[in-house]
Symmetry: C2
Amino acid sequence: MSSSARFLVVSIQNRRERERAERHQLIIDAARELAEAEGWDAVTTRRLAEKVEYSQPVLYSHFKGKDAIVRAVAIQGCGELARLLREARPSRGESRLRAAAEAYLKFARERPALYDAMFVQQSDLPWGTEEVPQELLDAFGELVAAVEPVRGERDLEALTEVFWSSLHGIATLMQGGRLRPAHDETRLDLLLGALSLAQDEDRL
Amino acid sequence: MSSSARFLVVSIQNRRERERAERHQLIIDAARELAEAEGWDAVTTRRLAEKVEYSQPVLYSHFKGKDAIVRAVAIQGCGELARLLREARPSRGESRLRAAAEAYLKFARERPALYDAMFVQQSDLPWGTEEVPQELLDAFGELVAAVEPVRGERDLEALTEVFWSSLHGIATLMQGGRLRPAHDETRLDLLLGALSLAQDEDRL
DNA sequence: TCTCATCGCTAGCAGTGCTAGAACCTCTGG
DNA sequence: CCAGAGGTTCTAGCACTGCTAGCGATGAGA
């Protein structure tokens, strides 16, 4: 085989890999769009295959199963949440904690299906012993940074977990219609006031 | 028809209704047991029918569909949670808030499937405009009572919503393995300390 | 041009929630 | 005591789900 032919083979392989990667992302995007438009119940392998204009088995050549597709959507969602939290700079007079809380709740409110895949559906995303995706660590890191200014003497990680849990609880209970919309503002004020240090009580 | 015959008819009807009610409860119990033993995925109409020793259509003569069965389990779960919260009296030196929080989290930890049906699966249980089941109101009422001692000047309902949301967030994120078990105690201490009034800072 | 491997497709499986209509059983009126 | 009415339960099936075996076409290499 000539040298140029060898390069040709390599470049053809490259093109194939590239096309494959594009289709991979196409599937993830289609799943997310379908879920956001009609809910995860509407995301069946048949409808998804139709949307990406391939047959069902193609999905299984990219992902081990439907769960793996949802997981991929969730991981990219974590990346997006991390970005939003990073860009959520407090406006004048506003605490960083509040800016983060508002950005988090806004994300959960505006992208309920995506939020569901990330934190509600127990798709045993690898949190525990196995490798936690970087996107998730990034998002948690942003929350840590937002909590840091009010930590005082308290354990930073545990305090961030409390902050996150509270936001998550509010987000999911709101989504389920369990909380009264009339209390939205008061609730956030109460939470932020409680988590902030006592000497910051003239708050936010 | 004689008078005694009329009474006989009535008593037969009563017996039938009683048996029907028993079977109704039998289905609910079987669904809960199956879910608690193997998770809600294992609760299929076929397996449930097999467990109660009737055919599938019988289920549909009692409930509109599978969702209605889950809802019935959830409502009875709310009743149980309300009872546990009511009975959760603080031991000496412990705040009522802490006793309630611990009882709530214990329930979520020990009965994850039941908790799931109650607060995670969006079975559009009638919370909003429609009639909220009394069991749920009772449970929320217990939380309100636990929060009342620390309300200070704050809105009691909104503060209870924050308390509930935080507990719910901790419960669900823990269940999903998102929080570090090592922080369990610290987390609860931080939450209770934050929600309690500043002057109670020498806390709990 | 022929061979072969890779790829995507058709068709199908087992299982899901749910339901129409047959089968059965009990009670009633003659 | 018996025929039939009424209600109840079951059998069998539909349309759908996630998933996969195995065939057929397409394109690369000799």
